[in-house]
Amino acid sequence: MSKRTRWLLEAKGCIDMATAKRAPTKKASKSYRTHVRVCVGTGCVSNGALDIKKALEKEVKKQKLDKKVLVVTTSCHGFCERGPMVHVQPDDIFYQKLKVKDIPHLVQEHFLNGRPVKKFMYKPPKSKEALPKMSDIEFFKHQQLIVLRNRGRIDPEQIDEYIAYDGYTALAKTLTTMKPKDVIEEIKASGLRGRGGAGFPTGMKWELCRNATGDVKYIVCNADEGDPGAFMDRSVLESDPHSVLEGMLIGAYAIGASEGFIYVRHEYPLALECINKAIRQASSYGLLGKNILDSGFSFKMHVVQGGGAFVCGEESALLGSIMGRRPEPVQRPPYPVEKGLWGKPTSINNVETWANVPPIISNGAKWFSSIGTKTSKGTKIFALVGKVKNTGLIEVPMGTTLRQIIFDIGGGIMDDKDFKAVQTGGPSGGCIPKKLLDLPVDYEQLTAAGSMMGSGGMIVMDDATCMVDVAKYFLNFLVEESCGKCMSCREGTQRMLEIVTRITEGQGREGDIELLEELAETVRDTSMCGLGQTAANPVLSTLRYFRKEYDLHIKYKRCPAKVCKSMINFYIVPERCTGCQRCVEACPVGAIVGPRSEPHNLDVTKCIRCRACYEICKFNAIEDVVVDAIRIISGVGVEEESEA
């Protein structure tokens, strides 16, 4: 367990954390007049907080204030964008974005002369207009919350609060007025489809499971959520675990299952804690166990923790993991609804799917199927992340366009850059380009565009993203996470990664793309499970829409997004360089030389393309230029010449 996780879990209550941190200051406060608290959260440390602390201590000592002013460190304040920051108590003054060179002035003015330095202080943005309403805020107003209905309004650790908002009334309605067949018909009529990615009709799955031979049946909740950038299931389990429990109870009643398993990935300690607590509370109320609500229906719930493998999100591997076997997918048919856990009929559904069930039972299938498109009913939760202004979790009706999601809800691209692509569906999905922004979010439409709905991860990319690099990232992920059983998946993804890596390193060859496509076809066709079958999607979708970028990389050794290190060089523009030496200090390999006040020089042979100089230069004097395009004399024209 990492230190951070332990810190998160051990918090017995926030007061303890506060007093625990206060302890040294309380003791010391008797002798020190001022405490200077330096934030040393990860963000601030990488911004140089430790140097700030050293500088503070040095200056304080120099000014002979070391008996009056105590410099201490604190953990993250949360306002990481403003770091490095320092909080001065008891003056309650907040200094932000400090630099080492500011410290002597700060110490002298504030601690010696008693004049706090205004220019380093934080100033909140002022607004003169009346406060906007939630229903006006773009981020919130387009959303329709079904699964996230209790968002922000209940304490997930209090079952009574869930009940206060009509929690468990759907279960009561089911157990008292509906027969199992009625429940299945209702779910079928609603059009609910699996929210894990594949979109199999949930009602049909439950019916197949119910009709399978055997008296012992199981239900499983797949909370493995391995897609990078996806955190919908985690949020539901942390914020509203009872909605999942209620959904599973209703499903178990419909199918005839007496035991259920919630498989939570190992990397979600808070979600595990929340769901375990919820189960304990539900059990003590008799909502789990024998004879629930006096109906004669009994149900036992177990929580199983994953071991840290993405492949366990695949249903047959997940079942193998629960049974204590190696989590390797197995051939289907027979499908889990016929032969699942320990050979018994098992219905596996995603967290979001289960959480949709109570509202459907409460409000009816007709209501649910009135939302969404013809083939995709209801709402979907998306984790909107990446280069978009408003990152977060959104729930929108199916059929909302990508443009609405990214530009209305998301607020557009960060730093007002240009939109390039949006990656949906995680490593099994693909990239969708600008021209398809008006695509409505819908299972079939996304698949037809070469991507897929997946679990709902939506990664927005701007024009500083290299699509070949994106393909490389996802391929690398799949190479690490493939279970390795099938030659096609294991070797196929490794070989695809080899080729794409060569392309990003400027070693692309004629015929590479054709080989990639052939390889992708084989991997897609011959792999046993969904991981392998969709492993080629990142490559195929980027090839489909960004072929030109691949060609530029291979033929001209050029990366237009200026990402691939071997194809970019940094150049100091002499007219703009003031000789301030910032970049000289920042460069970790000493590639920049030049005396003060004179334009510096960058030695490209030493440069490791870390971008430190580019980030730090205030005068836009450093440009990342694309390496000279190879000029072709006759016939084919060359793309724009390298900017220099």
């Binding site: 996470e481 279970c483 390795g484 030659m487 076809e521 011959t526 046993m528």
Partner: protein, 230 residues
């Protein structure tokens, strides 16, 4: 008895059979590597891939693990299947060129190029040794460990196994150990010395006259670019 269609023929099979067993029963040759009769099928090599279904629901599956069912439609040698098998054997050869079994499979399929850097590994992770040890010899001394790039076969915790009775079954059944390929031609990685079943004249003798008709017409020579892509 189950009724199904195999390469357009209506056939009857027992319940519980796999598609591979059915094909073999009816004399259709399907290449396999990780399949051995009397051991449970695993589906690691994917060479036994066949096409099932019709229209939109067509897909490729490994025939050694796929159970037969009423109304199943199977096609064993479509272009799509042959392309897939060729690419798979290319991957196998690139992984372990020193295995005669793999080289022979490549020759049989008429593979003329391996477009990947050979790795010269000793193990293709077919799992035959694991199943041999567990099912036939009841030793259960070795198994798969780790995943993806790091997947390998070893005894628990890499410690010499006390369960191992030194029967040698794992070595006997291993396609990489069985017979080493001692053939020439290390540059192209492919051997073709033992089973020269395909004439390669179109590759080597491009400007020589072939008396069997125009290039590619007689069907004797199979070259990558003459295979019709669907």
């Amino acid at each position: 008895m189950i009724q199904m269609k195999l390469n357009g023929l209506d056939v009857q099979v027992e319940e519980g059979w796999t598609v591979l067993e059915t094909c073999r029963f009816y004399g259709i040759e399907i290449p396999t590597l990780c399949y051995k009769e009397h051991l449970s099928p695993y589906g690691a090599c994917r060479l036994c891939t066949v096409e099932i279904g019709e229209g939109d629901s067509t897909k490729l599956v490994s025939s050694c693990t796929y159970p037969v069912s009423d109304g199943l439609v199977v096609r064993t040698h479509t272009n799509r299947v042959q392309r897939a098998r060729k690419m798979l054997i290319e991957l196998h050869v690139a992984l372990c060129p020193t295995s005669k079994v793999i080289q022979d499979l490549a020759s049989r399929m008429g593979v003329t190029q391996v477009r990947f850097e050979p790795k010269y590994e000793d193990c293709v992770l077919c799992g035959l040794c694991v199943r041999m040890c567990k099912e036939q010899m009841d030793g259960k001394a070795i198994g798969f460990v780790d995943r993806g790039r790091n997947r390998r076969i070893t005894s628990p915790f890499d410690i010499k196994s006390e369960e191992c009775r030194l029967c040698g079954g794992c070595i006997w059944i291993c396609p990489a150990c069985q017979t080493r390929c001692h053939g020439p031609n290390p540059e192209s990685v492919l051997c073709n010395a033992c089973l020269m079943t395909e004439t390669t004249c179109l590759d080597v003798y491009d400007d020589m006259q072939c008396w069997m008709g125009g290039k590619g017409e007689c069907g004797m020579c199979v070259r990558e670019d003459t295979v019709v892509k669907e």
